[in-house]
Amino acid sequence: MAGQTNGYKGNQAPGPFLRMGRPGGGGAARFRGPAEKPKQFKGTLKRLWAYFGRERNGLSVILALIVADSVLTLCIPYFIGRAVDAMPPGRKVHFNLLEIMIFVLTAAYIADAVLTFLQGWLVAGVSQRIVQRLRSHLFQKLQKLPVSFFDARTHGELMSRLSNDIDNVSNTISQSTTQLMSGVIALLGTLMMMIILSPVLTVASLCTVPLVFLLTRTIAKRTSVLFKNNQAELGRLNGHIEETISGIEVVKAFNHEEKAIKKFEEVNQSLLKVGLRAQIWSGFLMPLMNVINNFGFAMVAVVGGVLALKGMITVGVIASFLTYSRQFVRPLNNLANIFNVLQSGVAGAERVFDILDEKEEPEDAREAIVLRDPKGHVVFENVSFGYREDVPIIKNISFEAKPGTRTALVGPTGAGKTTIVNLLTRFYDVTEGRIFIDGKDIRAYTRDSLRRSFGFVLQDTYLFSGTIKENIKYGNPEAADEEVEEAARLAHADIFINRMPDKYETILSENGGNLSQGQRQLLAIARVFLAKPALLILDEATSSIDTRTERFIQDALLSMMEGRTSFIIAHRLNTIRDADHIMVIDHGQIIEQGSHDELMAHRGRYYHMFYNQFKNMGEG
């Protein structure tokens, strides 16, 4: 008998998917209620199968091994039967036959063991590679999705799909692959042997098969819905966990621990209820199968007994047959089980494919040109945009930034300044109007080249858990160590870096958590210094750094801005005072524009903003 697991591995923890009912939130957030069966069962299976495609060689070998092993497994009971026949009850033992059979059996067993081992070896490789590929595709897909996709979803939700769902698929694949193949072969082969041995007895055992089908379908119908619910609840739980652990400072600060726990309990209990029902239903499968199986054995025993009495078959045949019967029901049981397990596996795979099906950022136009050595001439022409169609953020904005100039965007928050940046870099595309760089519509350039010509220092820093050096080199992976240190020096980050025990090799924790907010900003700035881009965008970058350090950075930024077109969004009038061109933006429109002197003379909005800042100066 091949080393098959007769196992029903308890409830998996299949992938969850948190759906947030976002009214019209950006991106294609499809809405699926929890109580749905895996609708495209077959379709999803087919797609999963595509991943197996590359493993064709491995699979063929495995198949061959399984066939060989199954043949062996089929013959073994026969050999046993013949060996038993060599010892007829109450008569002389035919030792010759016995010896031969024993020899054959031994060889068969050894071969069986080797084949089983090889199977296990190969299957491990195949299934892990498939899962690796799935993970890799998912991650690569994520790189191509537009920013709006991420803005519309919570991290916990996405993480769930990426971890829990893939885990689920992985478990299902490793469990089901061999069992499916070997199960079917074993089934057919055993059936064949049984028919050869005794058609009558075969009929007797097969009468139970329709019952098995019925049972499996009834249970699977229920469990598929329950598994889906289970996943949905698990997703909700995951989302909640992610939020409260990421934001645990706020939870504690607001004494929200009790409430966070209460909400957790609520979802936990919900999950418990669903999980329990799924489990209990699944749990009926095996016992009932057993009853049916044993009924089959009983039939065999009785009918066999009758036949033997009539002298139509030998006792040895009954013995073999019983062994075959056992061998028949095992794969049958396994297949029923697998069908159940597949329900949750497929649901998990569906969620993974959901993401793979998402719309990517539109491809660059075929004639897209690479933006090289940009001079930095930027023009906005009647640009309008809104994240949501009914809520325009920017209305009809037009301005021009000549190459090498510094343009400052000021105005109250939410006025549209960050949005302008999003549009410049094509994180989002304009709804109306056009944006030009160096005389061409930015949509004519490849996204890559467009973005690479900008240097950003954004409001939120993103650092990853690598060394400080690696983080700075993010700006230019080819840079030499001296360049990295120079960039750090320019950003005034070298002071605190050199104070750390491992200096540039210091490893940062998740998102640079072991540094202060200000230090992280400095690293982000160093990163830009290293990248030396043609255009600069500073989005309230230095707000988190105190004004003292900022002064030094200002100097460095000033020299970096020499000859480069830059856009600065800051609230500190001091930092923008020296800009060549200032635009006051409010409610998505440009209220005023001009140089500092012009605007001050104008006595308009800018004048009042500036004046307000120094209202309390007194006689300082």
Binding site: N6, G7, G10, N11, M20, P89, V93, I102, T106, A113, V114, T116, F117, G120, Q132, F139, Q143, T154, H155, M159, D167, I241, V251, A253, F254, I261, F264, Q269, L272, I280, G283, P287, V291, F295, A301, V302, V315, Y387, T418, F456, L458, D460, T461, Y474, S509, E510, N511, S516, Q517, Q521, S544, D546, T547, R548, E550, H571, R572, L573, F610, G620
Partner: protein
């Protein structure tokens, strides 16, 4: 692993009942071969048809009993394992919520989440499996062993050789497995960690166009996970065939010995068939046991990781009894406070901090990056305990407060915006559950947030995604401020919370605060000197020490550090500009 004992105590009764049913089930299963053998040896051999039929009936009856037992057992097993899993998860969540910051930061956040989800599930699956078949397998094996020995002691010699060998295999399997699986979980942590980081920093990745870099980074981790998983599964997969082979050799031996036995008339053929059946039974069971141990090793790795969290002991002193507050409400005293994250004096980030903030004062805190401003302020709600000196709120040392009560008095607007999934209204209500709509609106108005909220299509019911994506940075900050205000705190702490808000708006917020909260003590950490210029007093921090304390005018006269900050932002020339304008 000690944490498991609590659950063991709670569930052992149900567990045992399930195991009892499992035994009944196993018993029924065991009887089948014997009955079969009787049918053949007694029924068929003596051509006793009625006997055959009768035994067939008995077999069915026993099967039915077995099925009932199995269903009961299965249901019980589900109840126990699911409840256990839910409880474990809940306890772990509570534990994490109760951890101090120091301790939480010992763990990678992604790892904590993995422990709460994946690891708990592993343990749960194992317990579940334990009651389903993992106990059944040894029972069947032992049962089959007993039946076999009783049936024919001579043949049992074979068993005496086979069984010990199998046991050795199992032990070796286990020993090899544990470290392997720990490595796999670690690799999984890393993969999940990278994904998580990427999700947080999507914009920057796109901005720097580092698609290739990210994909490669991920590939490395992905490949490592794949390699470790593959090798651990492969190594473990040697043992099943080995065990099977051993048992099968046993079968061969039995046939051989049986041959002689039957020849001598000392054995019956029926016995041999039954014995072989028992061996088959034993072999299947042993396979299952081997699988059990595989799962056990996995579960053990997960248990270990969960145990790590439970084992964390809080260093802070136990909460002392609640006292009645006698001091003035909203007064904060720092008395020679020193603080270090590691507890060692050399690493102190705050040294000898001494000052008093009187009730109702608005105090500005200013200083360069890393000077200790946020750290200082985090001590007040007792997120960390001081290493030296004493910190008093309302005249009482903060360590004498139950953290809950202390934090009720304080409202914090953190540096980094943290809003949660839910509507704007729900987010503001976070600060005070009992707040009604009018209070919420009032707080929003004070924070200069009401206008833009009302302008949004769904108003206060507008949904905020993770970190509040629909709104701009400054708008999110104002919602955070509203959340703090709705709390009616004694002490309001704004940690650089107006950095993204423009000057004019900031002015209005401060004016509103002055009007609305006369008695409220307000701490303003800011970068812009204009934010703190008009406060009652300003504390200047430099390298973890107080470098200046006083009003704006006093500091401008006496503090070198303050002058520097002032000039760096305002600039000497700007001074003149401003003054010129003012005169006109």
């Amino acid at each position: 692993m000690h944490f498991l004992s609590k659950y063991a105590k709670k569930y052992w009764k149900l567990f045992s009942t399930a195991v009892f049913f499992l035994m009944c089930e196993a018993l029924c299963d065991l009887m089948q071969p014997a009955i079969l053998s009787k049918i053949i040896d007694v029924g068929v051999a003596s051509r006793n048809m009625p006997y055959v039929l009768k035994m067939g009936g008995v077999m069915l009856f026993i099967t039915a009993c077995g099925a009932v037992a199995a269903s009961l057992r299965s249901t019980l097993a589900s109840i126990v394992s699911q409840n256990f899993g839910a409880e474990l998860r809940s306890d772990l969540f509570r534990k994490i919520q109760a951890l101090s910051f120091q301790n939480i930061n010992r763990f990678d956040r992604a790892s904590l989440i993995t422990r709460l989800t994946n690891d708990v599930t592993q343990v749960q699956s194992f317990i579940n499996g334990l009651m389903r078949m993992f106990v059944k397998a040894p029972l069947l094996a032992i049962g089959a062993l007993i039946m076999a020995v009783r049936l024919d002691p001579q043949l049992s010699v074979v068993l005496a050789v086979v069984v010990p060998i199998v046991i050795i295999f199992i032990i070796v399997n286990m020993r090899l497995g544990f470290p392997l699986f720990m490595k796999v979980q670690k690799a999984l942590d890393r993969v999940n960690g990278i994904m998580r980081e990427y999700l947080s920093g999507v914009r920057v990745v796109k901005a720097f166009n580092q698609f290739q870099f990210e994909v490669e980074k991920f590939s490395v981790a992905n490949r490592r996970l794949q390699e470790r998983s593959t090798s651990s599964i492969r190594i473990m997969s040697i043992f099943s065939p080995a065990i099977l082979l051993t048992v099968n050799f046993g079968i061969v031996a039995i046939l051989w010995m049986g041959g002689f036995g039957v020849n001598n008339g000392t054995m019956k053929v029926g016995h041999i068939i039954a014995f072989i059946n028992y061996m088959t039974q034993i072999s299947t069971s042993l396979m299952m046991i081997s699988m059990v141990f595989n799962m056990f090793v996995r579960a053990r790795a997960s248990t270990f990781r969960i145990g790590e969290v439970f084992a964390v002991e809080e260093k802070t002193s136990p909460n002392r009894l609640k006292h009645e507050v006698t001091g003035e409400k909203g007064r904060i005293d720092f008395e020679n406070v020193t603080f270090s994250y590691t507890g060692r004096v050399q690493d102190a980030v705050l040294k000898n901090i001494t000052f008093t903030i009187y009730p109702g004062e608005t105090v500005g805190i200013i200083g360069s990056t890393g000077s200790g401003k946020s750290t200082l302020v985090n001590l007040i709600p007792r997120f960390y305990d001081v290493t030296g000196g004493s910190l008093k709120v309302d005249g009482m040392d903060v360590r004498d407060f139950h953290p809950h009560d202390l934090r009720e008095k304080i409202a914090l607007v953190p540096q980094k915006n943290i809003l949660f999934t839910g509507s704007v209204r729900e987010n503001i209500q976070w600060g005070n559950d009992r707040a009604g709509m009018d209070e919420i609106e009032r707080a929003a108005r004070l924070a200069e947030a009401h206008d833009f909220i009302a302008a949004a299509p769904e108003g206060y019911d507008t949904m905020i995604g993770q970190s509040g994506v629909n709104f701009s940075g400054g708008q999110k900050q104002r919602i955070s401020i509203a959340r703090a205000l709705v709390r009616h705190p004694e002490i309001l702490i704004l940690d650089d919370s107006t950095s993204a808000v423009d000057v004019a708006t900031e002015m209005r917020i401060k004016a509103a605060l002055k009007r609305y909260a006369k008695g409220m003590t307000c701490l303003l950490i800011a970068q812009r000197i204009t934010s703190v210029m008009d406060t009652d007093k300003i504390i200047v921090l430099e390298k973890g020490e107080v470098a200046g304390l006083g009003t704006h005018e006093e500091l401008l006269r006496a503090s070198h550090v303050y002058q520097e900050i002032y000039q760096s932002q305002m600039g000497k020339e700007v001074l003149q500009d401003g003054r010129t304008n003012e005169r006109i």
